[in-house]
Symmetry: C2
Subunit: 347 residues, 2 copies
């Protein structure tokens, strides 16, 4: 029997609640799916930082390297550790070290979920560049505190980085409805975004079966609200993808429903699966976090591991659950009631 | 009788249609308002570029300087002139040369207009920094075309630039419902956005009557869709403001309803008023563009000139018109029918 070794990083706040829920569902799926899952749990988090002075041990990345996948809850607890420390100490280094350059986020309404839009017929896959661009961390400040102080932040885009994410976007479009939207702001950012547009244009010749359209980020934000049904695959830079996927989460009914995968498409290192939502310290451990996004992220992990049938079973169980009205209304059901409903729907 | 000298820049495409409409309304308002408006029209546009090799004459800025205000339609016609040329040759230089550092955009539903959200009780004023930040135009490319090509784009924030826009935001919040949302992404952009957060925090002591909250741009995009009624004044950088105001236009029913003002609060140079929408070449001169956004921008101009009663009259006439269903449904009514209805509502 095939065994997958999974690193569990529940992290902070509700990250722990939802990771437990997702794991319960994944384990049950494995039992009936002819494969097994073996979890190793790491307590890396803001609490860990307060005890140890770092978000993970110095050999943390090395430790994670041998796993088949990583399942993460959420990172951050600003009142304990500033976000700029916690995120740059755990979440972001993993994405970069393991070259998880494709951050994939599906946006569609689960049955029974009412979103904020009047429109409900959309099915969007956002592909966010995950390793460079506007979140390169390059920049600085001069004359700190003086009236001539200047802060700069430099977005760095490499041909390799842009080409690989766009190629990934074209492939995903090919496997779906054949439409790719490439998002830039080339009318106002004439170096980075013109570069991105040129690469999109260059690659389009290799994918004649994919219909590719370039949008400005402002127009795309409006389109996701005015005409989301017109979109299929949306590829964007680190920052633009970050913004569009929170917007995607919003139109699908809220962050409790938004799943994500940080994929290393070359499989040279483990990929990481995590709900889009944060650690929500204010409701941590009250047992009221919605685990659907985390469970859906778990289904994306099964898919990535090649356990497609099991992944579909989990998605079916999620949809049966929300169609019954359980977990469909933010704040209504408790974490364990939603989890129990998904488990029972698994049969 | 007080006379205001207005520079009209209809620009490209539907910019011309809607500027004519707005001007007709403004002239009528002036007639009954005890002041007069004197227009000087400049044909600066992409057509002008094709004839003259530049978007405006070399002394264009100098020419505009003596006016009391500028009313602009829209700039750009990508099939004639690339956006990076037309916008950097006309719209953006005016904003910068005249230190129109506050780009103000109101987002609320006009009566009779159905937006894409189920929610309709919101009234948001977005304040966008309009002169620096992510649209500074600083950057470059190396190894062009080679596989090690790198493009960089540098966002530049100055203390003066950030302080003045935030101060403007605090003042606007004070004059409205007392709530200011300051938008950054300081968990991922640790130079520019941490700088912005610090300045927000520093200024808040001077405005104890204003309740200020910092949001990340991704969370704010979601909030504008999930809970727009929770927002009052939203202050953001050039890029973030650009994105949020298109999103604001979307939730208020579309770009046909989104007005904007590029304000020089020190009045050391003219301010400029323009609808948020672009030139929409595909529907240029068909007589079907919605002039409401341009007329509303004209009302903001009257307000800025100190003609508050006249500004209110125009807003009332717009609201009477859309409440009657005229101009309320995108694509339904012709430009001249909507304009005629606003004119008749003016009485
Ligand atoms: C927490 C933050 C750094 C992170 C990001 O921007 O990548 C989050 O917003 C996300 O979308 O995963
Ligand atoms: C056309 C473009 C350069 C402009 C901008 O980004 O400023 C527009 O999007 C706007 O919002 O006024």
């Amino acid at each position: 029997m095939k065994t997958y070794r999974i690193a569990l990083l529940p992290g902070d706040g509700i990250g722990r609640d939802v990771t437990d829920a997702a794991w319960a569902v994944l384990e049950k799926t494995a039992g009936s799916g002819g494969f097994s899952l073996e979890a190793t749990r790491y307590p890396w988090s803001c609490d860990y930082y307060l005890e140890n002075g770092s978000m993970m041990p110095a050999d943390g990345i090395e430790t994670l390297k041998s796993f088949d996948a990583i399942l993460l809850g959420a990172v951050g607890w600003p009142r304990k550790v500033p976000d700029s420390v916690s995120l740059h100490g755990l979440l972001l280094p993993i994405r970069k070290a393991f070259v998880q350059y494709a951050n994939i986020r599906p946006h569609r309404l689960l049955p029974g979920v009412q979103g904020p839009l009047r429109s409900d017929g959309f099915d969007i896959l956002c592909i966010r560049e995950n390793t460079e661009g506007e979140y390169s961390g390059a920049g600085g400040r001069i004359h700190q505190g003086a009236d001539n102080e200047v802060a700069i932040e430099t977005a760095i885009f490499t041909r390799k980085g842009v080409e690989r994410i766009l190629r990934f976007g074209f492939e995903q479009a090919r496997a779906r409805r054949g439409k790719l939207a490439s998002v830039t702001k080339s009318n106002a950012q004439k170096y980075s975004m013109v570069f991105w547009d040129e690469i999109t244009h260059g690659l389009s010749a290799e994918y004649p079966d994919v219909e590719v359209t370039s949008y400005h980020i402002d127009a795309m934000a409006a389109r996701m609200v005015m005409a989301p049904e017109s979109l299929d695959v949306v590829a964007a830079s680190n920052l633009f993808g970050d913004i569009l996927t929170d917007l995607g989460a919003a139109i699908q009914g809220g962050l409790g429903f938004a799943a994500s995968a940080n994929i290393n498409p070359d499989r040279s290192a483990p990929s990481m699966f995590e709900p889009v939502h944060g650690s929500a310290p204010d409701i941590a451990h009250l047992g009221i976090a919605n685990p659907i996004a985390a469970i859906w992220s778990g289904a994306m992990m099964l898919e990535h591991l090649g356990e497609t049938a099991a992944a579909e079973k989990v998605m079916d169980a999620i949809e049966t659950t929300t169609a019954r009205g359980v977990g469909a209304i933010p704040g209504k059901d408790r974490t364990d009631a939603i989890t129990a409903s998904v488990l029972s729907a698994l049969g």
